[in-house]
């Protein structure tokens, strides 16, 4: 189209890319022929999470978009082509490749790391931290380095220090100011931060101005400070602030700030109305905004400006932005909200809380009448950030005693209920999503978090708002009567715990009876397995009995784990990981005979994969013959008790950990529970069995056993907590009996002990009261219930193979002996695997 105007965007960083997305959303790519120039060879990537490049993420996963996206919308993307000049008279930009005409131009060139003018700052191995290429250079330089120094103890400096530490360099931070992060924290906060960071092995030097850098004696460089003190290092990263990349604007005489930055107005227009600027290069009201959220707001305003004449609403303008931040630096939480120092509001009053043991510091800055929050500072625990931020951003009236907001309470931070927030409250500042926007999306039919995220983009930027977003969405759904309700499913208006009590109190023994009396319909794949688990916990009847078999997930029905091609895995119990050579031989023979893939599991036993449904009974027949029994790898039940070698062989062992592991495994095998249960027993504090990552962990002491509970590996690891110390064998077992039964009784469906514990009102103390002090007076009952389960144990595989009725279930087809022809195997590393 010949009437199409030319729009050029210089810079394909975070804000430049966001601008392109905003333009596309407004249909600007149909009106303008858009060309984007990027100096870096990478398409726009997530600079905020740049450091993750060192912890496993690659350029692709950091990318914010794809070349296809640009192509699809007819946008020309010219990467690795820097603009070298703007010719405003001709209306053209100049690159080494040619000249390109523009009607409208946007500067999104970001900023560059400031390197102080210190003689020697250009030596080899003196680097900066801003781009993927910078990180490649640091990684390369680190290969031949043992030590590294970061110049600058601000936010980015500490992030760079963490990266150097991750590259195994002895790391130091050199800061000019008297404390770290001078912009965000005060003296107390700075002191605490310093202690925490030093404790991580990073050396911190404050009030040090580098005079020059010269050849080192023991390392590549020697930094010489104002007082002639020196520091030697192999590698130096400068992170002493950022400066806007405004050279193009300066050269073509756009209006500039005194200390740099391209001056823009509320519509992001520069002094030349054909040219706009957004992001870190732009100076608004004398301020540069070095965060991504304000940049995104500018991008939205700029897109509106460029499409103002066709917008069906009034264009968004840029009206400044809040610089509150919440970070985790070197694992240390730091948060700053509004006027964190309290020096911008005369008359402001403060509350301070300092805990030198836990190393936490919090400060509130409130208005002189004590009613509004003006700012806050957090070091050590950012759990307080969300609700403080809401008080601040929405001008909410503070509680009677504002100090309660930063005082520790057993419940953690006092949460500000989502209903207390006005509709205008910003929930996600990256994408400017308010509570009102979320409500709109829910009113338009969104019924879960994922949909709300997809529609509003909330929580898809820095991710800092995730927790808040979830609580708002849950609350709004609930208030609209959407079932965030605790009922287990549409067939029962009860929680799992209620069903458990009903089953026990009324003595209900089958699902049929349960649904007839307390539910409706046929049941489903949620309530049936849950009921099966409850019935098994209470009465421990074989799950293969006719009344129970249709309730089970396929793994329980066939007492094996279904694999992706419909075959099964077979995991016999190898209690405590101890196995005789004879039994090992049998496992090998069975695997050979039935063509099974074998693997040692993470639970110290052996898994045989690829068994066909119709072969399972024969396989188990041979295993049982050899003395094996089922390992319940398929059940929500006790899995394994891992052991270390312990005092029998190990020079450090103080108790027989293998013996105890075997004892525990045989005691609790077959116990069905809300979710799977894993145990471990270590023979001394070296903890080779990793007991502290288990639901039940036991560690030997000189005097007996220490018991740890509610640990978890898996998706969200949690350390187990010390529950009782120096127990003898009998005390240990009694305590575990009670603990397990209390969990079985009160946990939700598919809730591991870790999550159960986290949701337990009263926490660990409450659990100790119940289990150790018998505060509910139920311990006798818990113990006898456990004893009943133990007394009724039988190997369900042994039960199945001796019952022809039960065996009928293991036919692939009821009217044919042919095996399923669609199970196709191939071989890899000398064994079979699904093709």
């Amino acid at each position: 189209m010949s009437t199409q105007q030319q729009l050029i965007v210089i810079g394909n960083g975070m804000v430049g890319h966001h601008l392109v997305e905003q333009l596309v959303e407004r249909g600007a790519h149909e009106r303008y022929a858009i060309t984007v120039f990027g100096e870096e060879r990478h398409l726009a990537y997530d600079r905020v999470h740049l450091s993750e490049y060192f912890s496993g993420r690659d350029a692709d996963s950091l990318a914010l978009s794809t070349a296809d996206y640009y192509a699809e919308h007819g946008i020309e993307l010219r990467l690795a082509e820097a603009v070298t000049a703007i010719d405003r008279d001709a209306g053209e930009v100049v690159t080494p490749e040619g000249r390109y005409p523009y009607d409208r131009l946007v500067l999104a060139t970001g900023s560059f790391p400031f390197v102080p003018p210190i003689p020697g700052n250009d030596r080899e191995g003196c680097l900066v931290y801003r781009t993927l290429d910078d990180l490649d250079a640091i990684r390369a330089a680190a290969e031949n380095a043992a030590t590294g120094v970061v110049v600058g103890g601000g936010l980015l400096g500490l992030e760079a220090a963490n990266a150097l530490r991750g590259l195994n360099l002895d790391t130091a931070v050199v800061e000019f100011a008297p404390r770290l992060m001078p912009m965000q924290v005060d003296t107390e906060g700075g002191t605490l931060l310093r202690e925490k960071i030093e404790a991580l092995g990073v050396q911190v030097l404050t009030e040090r101005a580098t005079q020059h850098i010269e050849d080192g004696v023991d390392a590549a460089h020697r930094m010489v400070f104002q007082d002639d003190k020196v520091l030697e290092t192999d590698l130096i990263v400068f992170s002493a602030g950022i400066r806007p990349r405004d050279e193009l604007a300066r050269d073509c005489a756009l209006e500039m700030g005194e200390r740099g930055g391209v001056v823009i107005d509320d519509r992001c227009l520069t002094s030349d109305p054909a040219i706009l600027a957004v992001g870190e290069v732009a100076l608004w009201n004398q301020s540069i905004f070095g965060l991504v959220a304000p940049g995104y707001r500018m991008a939205r305003a700029a897109a509106d400006t460029l499409m103002a004449d066709v917008l069906e609403r009034s264009p968004e303008t840029f009206r400044g932005a809040d610089m509150s931040t919440k970070l985790k630096l070197l694992g240390v939480d730091v948060g700053a909200i509004g006027d964190a120092h309290g020096n911008q509001n005369p008359g402001a009053r403060m509350f301070r809380y300092l805990d030198e043991i836990k190393q936490e510091y919090r400060k509130l800055v409130v208005s002189s009448d004590g009613r509004k929050l003006l700012g806050a500072m957090l070091v050590g625990d950012n759990d307080y950030y969300e609700s403080l931020m809401q008080y601040y951003a929405n001008g909410l009236e503070l509680p009677e005693d504002p100090a309660s907001l930063i005082l520790p309470s057993s419940e953690g931070a006092p949460a500000l209920g989502p209903d207390a927030l006005p509709d205008t409250a910003t929930i996600c500042s990256c994408h400017n999503v308010t509570k009102g926007d979320i409500c709109t999306s829910i009113d338009a039919g969104a019924v879960d978090l994922a949909t709300v995220k997809g529609e509003t983009k909330a929580s898809t930027g820095c991710g800092g708002c995730a927790a808040l977003l979830k609580s708002v969405v849950d609350h709004e759904l609930e208030s609209r009567g959407v079932e965030v309700d605790q009922s287990i499913c549409e067939h029962f208006a009860h929680t799992r715990q209620e069903l458990y009590d009903i089953v026990r109190v009324e003595g209900i023994k089958t699902f049929g009876e349960l649904i007839e009396k307390h539910g409706q319909g046929l049941g489903c794949d949620i309530c049936k397995p849950a009921a099966a688990s409850i019935l098994a916990s209470c009465y421990n009847e074989p799950i293969t009995d006719a009344a129970h078999v249709p309730l089970q997930d396929t793994n329980d029905t066939f007492m094996a784990n279904m694999q992706k091609n419909g075959t099964y895995s077979v995991v016999p119990r190898i209690a405590g990981g101890e196995i005789t050579p004879d039994k090992l031989v049998v496992l090998g023979q069975v695997a050979q005979k039935y063509d099974l893939y074998t693997k040692i599991t993470g639970g110290q036993r052996i898994d045989l994969f690829g068994a066909r449904l119709e072969d399972l009974p024969a396989i188990w027949g041979e295993l049982i013959e050899a003395g094996f029994e089922t390992g319940h790898a398929y059940g929500k039940s006790v899995r394994t008790v891992k052991s270390c070698v312990g005092s029998t062989w190990c020079r450090y062992g103080v108790q027989d950990s293998v013996g105890m592991a075997i004892k525990l495994e045989h005691r609790y095998k077959g116990l069905r529970s809300p979710h799977k249960l894993k145990f471990a027993v270590s023979g001394c504090t070296r903890e080779c069995a990793e007991a502290q990552s288990k639901d039940v962990g036991v560690i030997a002491t000189e005097n007996g056993w220490n018991l740890y509970v509610c640990g978890n590996g898996g998706m969200r690891p949690r350390h187990a907590e010390l529950f009782a110390t120096d127990l003898d064998d009998e005390q240990l077992i009694r305590t575990i009996d009670r603990f397990l039964m209390f969990y079985v009784r009160t946990a939700d469906r598919l809730q591991r002990t870790s999550v159960w514990r986290e949701n337990l009102e009263g926490g660990l103390d409450y659990l100790k009261e119940v289990i150790l002090d018998d505060s509910l007076g139920i311990n006798e009952e818990l113990e006898s219930q456990m004893q009943a389960v133990i007394d009724t144990y039988e190997c369900e595989w042994a039960g199945a193979i001796s019952d022809p009725e039960k065996l009928k279930r293991f036919r692939s087809f009821v009217n044919d002996e042919r095996p399923d022809p669609d199970i196709i195997m191939t071989s890899e590393r000398g064994q079979l695997r699904p093709a």
Binding site: G523, P550, T554, N565, K808, V814, D822
Partner: protein, 124 residues
């Protein structure tokens, strides 16, 4: 039982006997081979004794995993409509017409199925 008339009234489809009532599992599924005009196929038979419709026959092939496992799923209902949940990735399929509830574009084949005395017969 009206099997005979049904068979007579269809030209291309016939009723075939598959198995006995005894081979079925109450409130659950089993798999069987059937002959269709397009060749042999695997069918999942679900048995809900005491319900208005006691027998359902749907494809045993799970389109999401590519494995032949539908017969091994849990049977239940969604808002009163009988469904089976795939044992692998847990999608739900309506027993009456095979429709997948999570994906409008996916549907399992279904066949008329009934008892002839204690024999299970299916029309394909």
């Amino acid at each position: 039982m009206t099997t005979a008339t049904a068979a007579a009234s269809t030209m291309t489809q016939t009723w075939q006997a598959l198995c006995d009532r005894d081979d079925l599992v109450e409130f659950s599924g089993v798999a069987a081979w059937i002959e269709t005009a397009g060749g042999p196929a695997q069918v999942a038979l679900f048995y809900l004794p005491g319900h208005a419709t006691e027998l359902y026959a749907v494809d045993n092939h799970d389109p999401f995993s590519g494995a032949n496992v539908i017969a091994r799923g849990i049977v239940g209902d969604r808002q009163g409509e009988p469904v089976v949940a795939s044992p692998l990735y847990k999608q739900h399929f309506r027993l009456t017409d095979g429709q997948c509830l999570e994906d409008d574009d996916v549907k399992l084949r279904t066949w008329p199925v009934d008892f002839d005395g204690d024999r299970v017969v299916l029309q394909a």
